[in-house]
Symmetry: C2
Subunit: 406 residues, 2 copies
């Protein structure tokens, strides 16, 4: 297959490109490299030393004999070039990772909110319109998030995308109808994924586009089979307060003897998936394309759920780190349960890497190995969800007012 | 009150500005005049001779002694100026009409789709972010459409915004939850209004913005009490295939002896409201602002529903015009029932102008009076929803293959 990997220079995109290239697919990476620019803006860098995308592609060719092409293109701002690109490359499948993906970054300031909405909505919509306009019948696989449900999961098990509801008809009878599972996103970033769902629903219905939307949990882990093959193929590892996801942040905090910073009570339950499983799920989804006219296929792409404070205790147990409880910069329920259905991927043959088995190697091979590259100043999470929250934030875990537990 | 009327140069915005000015409010119109540019692009003009916005404001001052200020500003593209404008003018209420509002225009080509999404989403989101950032606690009244429900109204009565659903909790019990009534928009334009709803939900929840979303039916009629006061205060009247709504198009077709063009069987049922009632509803909504922390208030702003073919017959009956059935350029159900709840406005004291009473004056005072300004070439609806539909379109009602009935 000819596969276009949009956002293929990113954390999930790069190992996906390698995985699919290794399987023999023809891979084109499209990226505007905005994520590298954001690193520059924030003054942070990946914990792992990461080469340019051009150099990564060159090394991959040396190591594997396979070619991955890189194309610099902004999906959100260059509609005409997107169209021309599709017509020239005629992909059989398009995997769409190309969005601003950090909730804290999306809440950092009004400028960041405006950028996130404009970038994500226009990127997705340009892609959809261009597929219709060019008539290219590619299977579109998009990465969404289970975070879209946010406040609407009142202790409910998250189904895979749809909810049957009873609607009262005009004659007083009840008709059953299947609707997109209602979303109530809790950040501007998550909101853009909720907007994406509506775009997908429309273009599947009006134009018969074939779309799979993968509602992914938090991806952890750094290496996949392919990234291990050469030092310079290594994946990015974000640990800063904006892009570092909760587990990554605990790992590097432990590595530098910084307390593990839990927000609020740490009672938030989150869903996780290892990067190796993430790239495998994308492969499985690619092999299972919907037909034209079918509704959008929605999968939950995750393998386990954990409470944040339990994660912290687990990392603390393995490393001897302390745990610090800080005010939560996010506006969210302090405690929530989460049960997620992921039958579809299990049925397709996914065999998960568990945290239980993979965590220690992540500590040793990544966090401790690259600990010298950590900039302590970049560790605190400083983006507050509202002005009131910003006023009460305390981002210093060594502050004596904070209750620290071992 | 200090009221900002965004999109105040438009068909609903202008008479709203006059109506509220007449009530003694301080009115600022903000508009980028894009709608006038679109007239130029399409080579069409309002049936009614319409002055520049600056001239209209001058005449209103002469006629009423009241001042309306006009500000040229693009909400979608000039975020920093939007913020500065709000800080300078500190409105108590903001009425947001400023979007590309024609479904056929939004489906005209890929460029028009891209423009509509980018303009509407960015305009609404910029406004919301700017309100949060400036801390201006204005009541935001937005004009949405009942068209967002599209395919999801399987003969159900359309409630005002929300639907209670039963969600299965993890312990197998059922919990009731109120969700935004599920949308399934049928055009790119309608889709943007569905996106707006998610933006509103988020900003009401996260930042306590006070928002009312008016899901409006098709607005008909030209004059309000204020526009009648001077020839140069007249409202715009769109009749072309893209911007002309169904009733307006029948009226001018009748006036020039062109068959009334019904699409498909004409079995589509649509909701209507007279422009005089529309401006009155907005006044009522303004007086009934939600509190911070309240969910978005959603009203259905319409007063009657009609099947398209019945409307055609009614206009034919009053004018002697013929009716022609043409292929439908839209992708939609050929026949649908529609029952809309509008209890909230009736309870607030709305006393509707019916089609029964207002139609004849619209024919005489507007359509026949300005018939000499009609450009016949602009009458057909030429924007098709999909490539397949475009292939089968026949936009000439005098074509003998078409069944014409009197
Ligand atoms: N990482 C996670 O834990 C996680 C969890 C759930 C969902 N996701 C989703 O998976 C996708 C990939 O996530 P990631 O962690 O790899 O993010 P990332 O930021 O590392 O990668 C995204 C890539 O897209 C590119 N990009 C952004 N906007 C673009 C545009 N307009 N045009 C072209 N390229 C553009 C960036 O330069 C970057 O290389 C995202 O859509 C994200 O929302 C990620
Ligand atoms: N007319 C109807 O039948 C009807 C029905 C339902 C809902 N609505 C809604 O009511 C609102 C007003 O409708 P209308 O018929 O008056 O439309 P209109 O096109 O006549 O007016 C819209 C105005 O907004 C301005 N505008 C558009 N984008 C802008 C931007 N980015 N910045 C600043 N100004 C901008 C235009 O120049 C125009 O003057 C729309 O949001 C529409 O969706 C209208």
């Amino acid at each position: 297959m000819r596969i276009a990997v949009l956002g293929g220079d990113g954390f999930v995109g790069w190992p996906t490109a390698l995985h699919l290239s290794d399987l023999g697919h023809h891979i084109d990476i499209v990226d505007n490299l905005s994520r590298r620019w954001i690193d520059t803006e924030l003054g942070v860098q990946s914990l792992t030393p990461m080469d340019s995308i051009q150099e990564r592609c060159r090394i991959w060719r040396e190591v594997s004999g396979r070619k991955i092409n890189f194309h610099l293109l902004d999906l959100a701002k260059e509609y005409e070039r997107v169209k021309a690109w599709l017509l020239e490359h005629k992909p059989d499948a398009v995997i769409h990772f190309a969005e601003q993906r950090a909730a804290p970054y999306s809440m950092k300031s009004d400028r960041h909110k405006v950028y996130t909405v404009s970038n994500n909505v226009n990127a997705t919509h340009n892609l959809l319109t261009a597929l219709v306009e060019t008539g290219i019948d590619a299977h579109l696989v998009h990465l969404g998030t289970m975070g879209v449900y946010g406040y609407s999961t009142v202790g409910a098990a998250i189904p895979e995308g749809y909810l049957p509801v009873q609607i009262e008809t005009m004659d007083g009878a009840k008709a059953e109808q299947e609707i997109l599972y209602p979303t109530r996103p809790g950040s501007v970033y998550h909101m853009t994924k909720s907007l994406d769902q509506i775009l997908f629903q429309f273009y599947a219905q009006n134009d018969g586009l074939r779309i799979t939307d993968l509602h992914q949990g938090i991806v952890w882990g750094t290496h996949t089979e392919q990234t291990r093959r050469h030092d310079q193929l290594i994946n990015r590892f974000d640990y800063d307060g904006d892009y570092g996801t909760v587990l990554n942040r605990f790992l590097i905090q432990a590595a530098i003897g910084y307390p593990l910073t839990v927000h609020g009570t740490g009672g938030q339950t989150r869903a996780f998936i290892h990067i190796q499983d993430s790239v495998r799920c994308i492969e499985l989804a690619l092999n299972d394309a919907p037909q034209a006219g079918e509704r959008v296929r929605i999968f939950n792409q995750m393998t386990e759920t954990h409470r944040v404070r339990d994660l912290a205790e687990r990392v603390a147990g393995l490393t001897g780190a302390k745990v610090a409880y800080l005010p939560n910069p996010r506006k969210e329920a302090p405690e929530n349960d989460l049960v997620v259905k992921n039958d579809q991927f299990l049925n397709l043959g996914l065999n998960p890497t568990t945290l239980e088995n993979g965590l220690l190697s992540e500590i040793v091979e990544i966090a401790q190995k690259f600990a010298h590259r950590i900039d302590r100043k970049r560790v605190p999470a400083v983006s507050a969800w509202t002005k009131e929250i910003a006023g009460g934030l305390n981002t210093d875990p060594e502050d004596t007012r904070l209750k620290s537990v071992s």
